[in-house]
Symmetry: C2
Amino acid sequence: MEESKKPFCIVIHGGAGTILKSLMTEQKEKEYKSGLKAALDAGYQILEKGGSSLDAVEAAVSALEDFPLFNAGKGAVFTNKGTHEMDASIMDGSNLEAGAVSGISHVKNPVQFARVIKEKSGHVFLSGQDAENYAQTMGLKLEDDSYFYEAGRYKQWQDVKDSDSYQLDHSDKQETGEKKFGTVGAVALDMNGNISAATSTGGMTNKKYGRVGDTPMIGAGTYANNKTCAVSCTGHGEYFIRAVVAYDVSCLMEYKGLNLNDACEEVVNKKLVELGGEGGLVALDAKGNICMSFNSEGMYRGFKHSENGEQIEIYR
Amino acid sequence: MEESKKPFCIVIHGGAGTILKSLMTEQKEKEYKSGLKAALDAGYQILEKGGSSLDAVEAAVSALEDFPLFNAGKGAVFTNKGTHEMDASIMDGSNLEAGAVSGISHVKNPVQFARVIKEKSGHVFLSGQDAENYAQTMGLKLEDDSYFYEAGRYKQWQDVKDSDSYQLDHSDKQETGEKKFGTVGAVALDMNGNISAATSTGGMTNKKYGRVGDTPMIGAGTYANNKTCAVSCTGHGEYFIRAVVAYDVSCLMEYKGLNLNDACEEVVNKKLVELGGEGGLVALDAKGNICMSFNSEGMYRGFKHSENGEQIEIYR
């Protein structure tokens, strides 16, 4: 049957940065990998049963949000005020519909709220306390501050909270040069040939001023279009915004005829490097090609593909 | 002298929409045109003296913000809570540096704050009350709610405030079908061949949930790159976000080799129309070509060009 031969797959990331093997314990590595594995499985199970790529990326990112070692949902980093401010977005490549949210503090799964925004609000992008009130109205699961607490994150914040510095990473090894961009994300292709992307983050440790990164910005941190690709980014958000990274990959494919891999490499390992922007992305196209590009030391990442098996990696 | 022959120019808009001559009084038309003229002059004077395109777009957009008939700064529309929530962004095409802000209520000139964010904050995008606190720290001029009050806008809000409806326009003629997207913006080219873009808005009348449109989103509402073009958009922001409008124009030029006019027309009168997105944009390139594209009935717009004179228009 022709139908049964259509590839489907999911690709995820749990953040990029200076992730050095020498600084990782075997136990910690195992934990990270188990978090990635759980997210891959959550998304893949949906695809396998004929579910949509949109459901798959939502499930995978929700799993990453629920996993405390990644900087999104439970385990989000602390702002300068000791609060959590989370951002997320999701995009459906079959119709270019999108939802995004920034600066919410108590929604358990920001990516699920981004999807509700996409489908129910009549808008694309909501922000702040008013957005959170809307989440409550829409029946999203809210949690107290304590739910998001993670001891490592708290220590990280305590280390810098009286300073003017902020951390773009979710590392407590700043002094050793370890630097991680703790965004999570997923892209998926379903049996119907539809692709989707989703991204979620807790932002930067000790961040001030209501800073917003690339994660909730459609075109920068997240983009999906069946014609070209689905992309989810992680990295130094300011550079990803200025370079409109996710949509740039799409345009290089659509207008310049590059294949997925060349487009991702051009953006991540040439344009972003020239601009000074550290990070990476995961991407795929509707034919089932996948790409995991990064210009940093490492990126928590993995894929599960109906034809090419499964892989989970951390280092270069 | 070769130098003296280099063209310089500024192009501005004061919003697009269903602006019908039959609904406009002669007096009102004169007022709108005087507001556009003042903004063009403010920007052009800077260019003429050899100033930067960045200073020129900041000055022009500040003038539009100060002019109460446009929905930005003074005269911003009312939210569902009877407050003002303003967004703005600015981008320098010579180095791709950018600043953006959303959801601020008391900064007199949001575009000036966007520039401060670009140059002083270490970030690109700030949002909400924390951003406003930062504005105060940085010495930006703040105003009471009463400063932003404009009688026409208040009436407009009163008409819909007890309903669930919101208006994407700043019109009090909803019943007659008049619909205006009251964003303001400017793009400029200076004698040194550098181009910049800036955009500012008061959002939608009666808006809820902390909705954010395309105006503060680099790549969607605003983009500038010396290599391609500077673009400032106005319209139904949700569609402009999904279509990543401003950066799309740039990519069509850079990757597909389209000229400025063809790129703008492709995006505004083809891609946006197919998606259902109403609005328009102003754009220019580093050679001094300009474009004012819209798919709505009208757009408040004008340009002043060192070689091609001055023009101010409202209708198609």
